[in-house]
Amino acid sequence: MTDLAIETEGLVKVFGTNRAVDGVDLRVPAGTVYGVLGPNGAGKTTVVKMLATLLRPDGGRAGVFGKDVVEDADAVRGRVSLTGQYASVDEDLTGTENLVLLARLLGHSRPAARERSAQLLAAFGLEEAADRQIKNYSGGMRRRIDIAASILNTPDLLFLDEPTTGLDPRSRNQVWDIVRAVVAQGTTVLLTTQYLDEADRLASRIAVIDHGKVIAEGTKGELKASVGSGSVHVRLRDPGRRHEAERVLRGALRAAVQLDPDPVALTATVDGHGTDLGAAEQAARVLAELARAGITVDSFALGQPSLDEVFLALTDGAPVGEKDTAEGKGPVDGKGPAGGKGPAGGKGPAGRTRPADGKSTADGKGPTA
């Protein structure tokens, strides 16, 4: 059992009549990246600010490494670093000045502060910009100096509040690489994001927040499975054997199989019921059984629901209680009958945020940007 870096119980923050955070329970294991996913205004930043001792909770309690964020705020501050939504560095000062200033405030002597900032600037590719004011930095450079400032003293817990919002794809990848490297050194990262793709790539557990409440929580796999799981799409050489193939699929997957309008195509859901096998393994078994039955398969694709689908299904108001039945999502997100997520489209809500269809081949990853 790992230690908990963060533990909150019924955390509440009210701004006027708006319950920005409305009873949030989080348990973040130490040494991992924990994603907090939600649309703008969901309460993500407010949660982070309470955990970072910037805001006082109006209800509930929150602890960081077992220390209460209100009672023991000073102890918490000694172990966390915050990289806020807008660059948490002084725009008017240069890169070096910012890092030296913060290093001095963390107790480093003047020479040690200079040395440490030079090291970090070099490691983050900012040597040439060291003597430029931050306001002349590009978005990606700001983020890097911001993260560098957060690890002047290696924090035990790093808050990254929407670290890649507004960055171009290359800068975003650079930030992701840095985050992975930081976590590899044992720092716990709490990452808020509105990009599902980002949570998918970095986080091991994810909480989905909307209207100040956690509406779903779990590993990426659990979240995806909760909304429906993946689907297997098979194209046969011989349309005459489709019914035979349907029986094989149904037997192997114990799930609904849909006959597509295309006379050689079938689609089946892979939802992991009654088996420990992952979707890819189940799909492999389907292939093997089709081969054993002597049915020729021309093409084969395994699609996983993207987090987009998860997210939209959840934030569109799908009752969370229904999440363990694949059928339950039908009426909610308008996807039609079970398994109707075939490549032919008809995915409804998912298409609203991203034109990409959230599918790729057997590696099960979402679309890459």
């Binding site: 001792t53 948490s88 008017d92 090291q119 590009s138 990606g140 290696t154 290359r170 992701w176 720092t187």
Partner: protein, 287 residues
């Protein structure tokens, strides 16, 4: 928030940058023992250094402690000198210490504006998550501002001497006067840090500051002897902290030892720090 922008999007991410490799970062992040936390004084001085860096990068902000005070000295000396004291040179002996106090007290009001604009920026969130003495960022501002007050005092005294001010107390008297003024201004500025945190916009800070600063500086004995004023006004003027400070500074620079006024000035200073310092820190922690 106000000054961001120029050219921030003109550069794209530098394509050559590669995130540090895991081993490289491991070296950077080795859990060497953290240095001991800085003391209250050290943290405050570091924030004071930040204020100096800001002056270095935006020297135009010194306009209000150079050109503005010169203008005040010249304007009031030549405007009122003849009428109030019969001659410019005799009026400047009375006016200069007073106008010095008035200008510096007026300049303190920019503290509120800079706190207000700064607090909205992300960097303040970082400061507030640091394990340091809580008032350090605020004290740092005020220490930075003390340097500005010092510049203003030097500029005004220089102009004063050029137009005929001859302090009877010589250098020691002048230095004592400035020291008292700096102590008072530092303490008085806590009012502005409070407003800077309390009010929502820069404009409202300016507005409220004017409401406070004008009566406080004009309804004092800076320009004229209060004995010519109606009784109710005298009551206010004689108990105005600015009057005490102006009297004390005037006497100190003239070579006297105004014990009572010095005591009043220091007493007011203590009250300002205790009351408004406390309110400031409450607001700061609450935000």
């Amino acid at each position: 928030m106000t000054t961001v922008s120029t050219g921030k999007d003109t550069r794209t991410a530098d394509p050559d940058f590669e995130a540090p490799r895991a081993e490289e970062l491991a070296e950077l992040l080795v859990r060497r023992t953290r240095p001991p936390r800085p003391g209250a004084l050290s943290a405050s001085m570091t924030f004071g250094w930040r204020a100096m860096l800001k002056i270095k990068h935006v020297p135009e902000q010194l306009f209000d402690v150079t050109a503005f005070p010169i203008m005040l000295v010249l304007m009031y000396t030549y405007l009122f000198g003849g009428a109030l004291a019969g001659s410019i040179s005799s009026y400047v002996q009375f006016l200069l210490p007073g106008i010095l106090v008035m200008s510096v007290v007026m300049i303190t009001m920019y503290t509120g504006v800079s706190v207000n604009t700064d607090i909205e920026k992300g960097v303040f969130d970082r400061f507030r998550t640091l394990p340091i003495w809580r008032p350090a960022p605020m004290v740092g501002y005020l220490l930075g501002d003390v340097v500005r007050y010092l510049i203003a005092s030097a500029v005004m005294l220089t102009v004063g001497v050029i137009i005929g001010y001859r302090p009877g107390g010589g250098l020691p008297g002048v230095l004592l006067g400035i020291a008292l003024l700096l102590v008072f201004s530092f303490s008085f500025s806590w009012i502005w840090t409070m407003f800077g945190l309390l009010l929502r916009s820069e404009k409202s800070v300016m507005g409220v500051s004017m409401m406070v600063i004008f009566p406080l500086t004009f309804l004092s004995n800076v320009f004229v002897d209060p004995r010519t004023m109606p009784g109710w006004l005298q009551a206010f003027v004689n108990n105005n902290p600015v009057t005490h400070v102006a009297s004390a500074v005037r006497e100190l620079m003239a070579g006297g030892w105004p014990g009572v006024d010095v005591a009043w000035s220091l007493g007011w200073s203590a009250v300002f720090v205790l009351v408004f310092g406390w309110v400031t820190m409450r607001l700061y922690n609450r935000r």
